[in-house]
């Protein structure tokens, strides 16, 4: 699914991601953990195209995607969320979702006038789909509200909903549960499991260890920009290097 080969990125003198290689393979939900500042978010930005790699290659479904702009990578079937939620505050909750539908004909100018009927049909389908997702996320009542008025947890769900609109092959989630309350976490977990069962691959950064252990079949561990271990949750919990990476620092907030 997603394959990284010798990926490297530095900012000035600081090496943020150092020679990372792995292949997510066919695993349903994979996790990425590591102490703060170990390069997880940078790696996600590299995968989704927001940062340019210094060297190495990234490929999705066998196709190289490194070097492509973010929107092109997104169109190839990779959707992402951001660590801090980024809904579109002045757009309605519903519009937040509909606008996430990929490759809309009506976003081009000429079809608006010459294929108006087709644009309308497509829009109706997207709207229907968006309503379904709102239903699923239990946000239907808030459909017409500006998304900026939603609670933080609801915004997180909305962000996930946006990802679902795209029918992605792979979703990467940067700390999906950070800052939301336990009951919302449960509904998020349920949603993630449903997605996995539908065959959508998920790759997430998460600090909530019990949750990672519950969800992920395979876990990758980063420390100081390098991939130091990967394996099943049990293997990770027993691994000495992983424990050292976390406990070897005083300022570890994870």
């Amino acid at each position: 699914m997603l394959e990284l080969k010798n990926v490297r990125k530095s900012f000035g003198g600081l090496i943020a991601v150092n020679d990372v290689s792995f292949d997510l393979g066919d695993v349903g939900i994979s996790g990425l953990i590591g102490p703060n500042g170990s390069g997880k978010t940078t790696l996600f930005h590299l995968i989704s195209g927001f940062y340019k790699l210094d060297s190495g290659t990234i490929s999705l479904k066998g196709e190289p995607i490194s070097g492509l702009p973010p929107h092109a990578i997104s169109q190839l079937g990779l959707s992402r969320t951001f660590q801090q939620t980024r809904v579109l505050p002045f757009l309605s909750t519903l519009d937040n979702l509909i606008s996430a539908a990929p490759n809309q004909l009506g976003e081009n100018l000429l079809p608006l006038f010459f294929m108006a009927k087709k644009v309308r049909q497509e829009e109706a389908l997207n709207r229907e789909k968006a309503m379904e997702i709102l239903e699923q996320l239990k946000l239907s009542d808030l459909a017409t509200l500006p998304a900026g008025d939603l609670s933080y947890g609801q915004q997180k769900l909305l962000e996930l909903g946006r990802v679902l609109m795209a029918d992605p092959a792979l979703i990467i989630l940067d700390e999906p549960t950070a800052g939301i309350n336990p009951s919302l976490i449960r509904s998020l977990v349920t949603t993630l499991k449903q997605l996995r069962d539908k065959g959508i691959k998920i790759f997430l950064v998460e600090h909530n260890m019990p949750l990672v252990a519950e969800l992920c079949e395979k876990i990758y561990v980063m420390d100081s920009g390098a991939l130091i271990f990967s394996g099943s949750p049990e293997e990770v919990q027993g691994n000495k290097r992983v424990i050292e990476a976390y406990l070897g620092r005083d300022n570890n907030a994870a």
């Binding site: 978010t41 930005h45 927001f50 940062y51 951001f82 660590q83 801090q84």
Partner: protein
């Protein structure tokens, strides 16, 4: 021929020293408050016209005395704009701040037209005698301009490097929120920035009007030069703005030898354009990067 080019360079240094004074104020405001203050140009114009007011009846003061109340009022205007307009907008969308400053600039410019009309005006100084240094001519007001610019910028340098206030200013320029948290008195920093920016703008305006004349648009055209200088020196960088101002003054004046004088302003415009293309990220637009 050499004398001709030397003369152009000297003219450039004279113009550049004034641009530098404008640019220093503009870049200080930009550095601390992170917005381009369009009405900075009008502080320049107001400085000059207030000078005119105090040299005219009923005051009829000599220019060096008239400059004192003129600058005092310019400073008051600078502080007032921050207090009534920019401070309340500090927390809102930065583009609101920019639009408000465009509105304020227009308001202040039209107030000048209301009080003094749109025509060119002068201080009615005695006809300037030209001094000749080996074929290079320079008038006494021009000599005065360069001297004043050097004195002011030296004082600024000492303030920045030798005083605690200067240190606070630089800290606030790096990161206003952090400076606030670290217990730097932000009110004092804010006042200092506006006082300095207004004094530099007002003095520059008076000096500019001494050399040539004044009209309501003088601030706006100077602002564009100053902005080019700010970009050239790196936004927020005071010493960069100084060098940038000199560079633009010289480039503009030397260009007269090669292009039609009608296109003199094109130099700063083109410079702004090219510089922006090479430093493509503004200070806002994309909030806080991709995190």
């Amino acid at each position: 021929m050499t004398a001709y080019y030397l003369q152009l360079i000297v003219n450039g240094i004279i113009a550049g020293s004034i641009y530098a004074m404008f640019a220093v104020g503009l870049t200080m405001v930009y550095g601390v408050f992170k917005f381009i203050n369009f009405s900075h140009g009008e502080l320049i114009t107001w400085g000059a016209y207030l000078g005119l007011m105090f040299t005219s009846p009923p005051f009829s003061l000599p220019l060096y005395q008239a400059a004192v109340p003129a600058l005092a009022i310019t400073v008051a205007l600078g502080l007032a704009q921050d207090w009534f307009i920019y401070r309340p907008l500090r927390q809102s969308n930065p583009v609101s701040l920019l639009i408000a400053s465009i509105g304020l600039s227009y308001l202040m410019r039209n107030a000048i037209r209301l009080f003094w009309g749109s025509d060119f005006q002068t201080f009615n100084l005695p006809v300037a005698r030209g001094l000749s240094f080996g074929g290079i001519y320079i008038t006494i007001p021009q000599l005065f301009m360069v001297t004043a610019a050097v004195v002011f910028l030296t004082i600024l340098y000492l303030l920045f490097t030798r005083t605690l206030l200067g240190k606070s200013l630089r800290a606030a320029s790096d990161n206003m929120e952090l400076a606030d948290i670290m217990g730097i008195n932000m009110t004092r920093v804010t006042v200092t920035v506006w006082v300095l920016a207004s004094v530099f703008a007002g003095t520059g305006g008076i000096l500019l009007a001494m050399d040539t004349n004044m009209d309501p648009m003088m601030g706006m055209s100077s602002l564009i030069k100053a902005f080019a200088a700010v970009l050239l020196g790196g936004a927020g960088n005071v010493w960069g703005a100084l060098v940038g101002g000199l560079f633009i003054g010289i480039a503009e004046n030397v260009s007269v030898a090669f292009i039609s004088p009608g296109y003199k302003d094109f130099i700063s415009f083109a410079l702004i354009f090219i510089l922006l293309l090479f430093r493509p990220t503004g200070i806002f637009g994309i909030k806080g990067g991709v995190r």
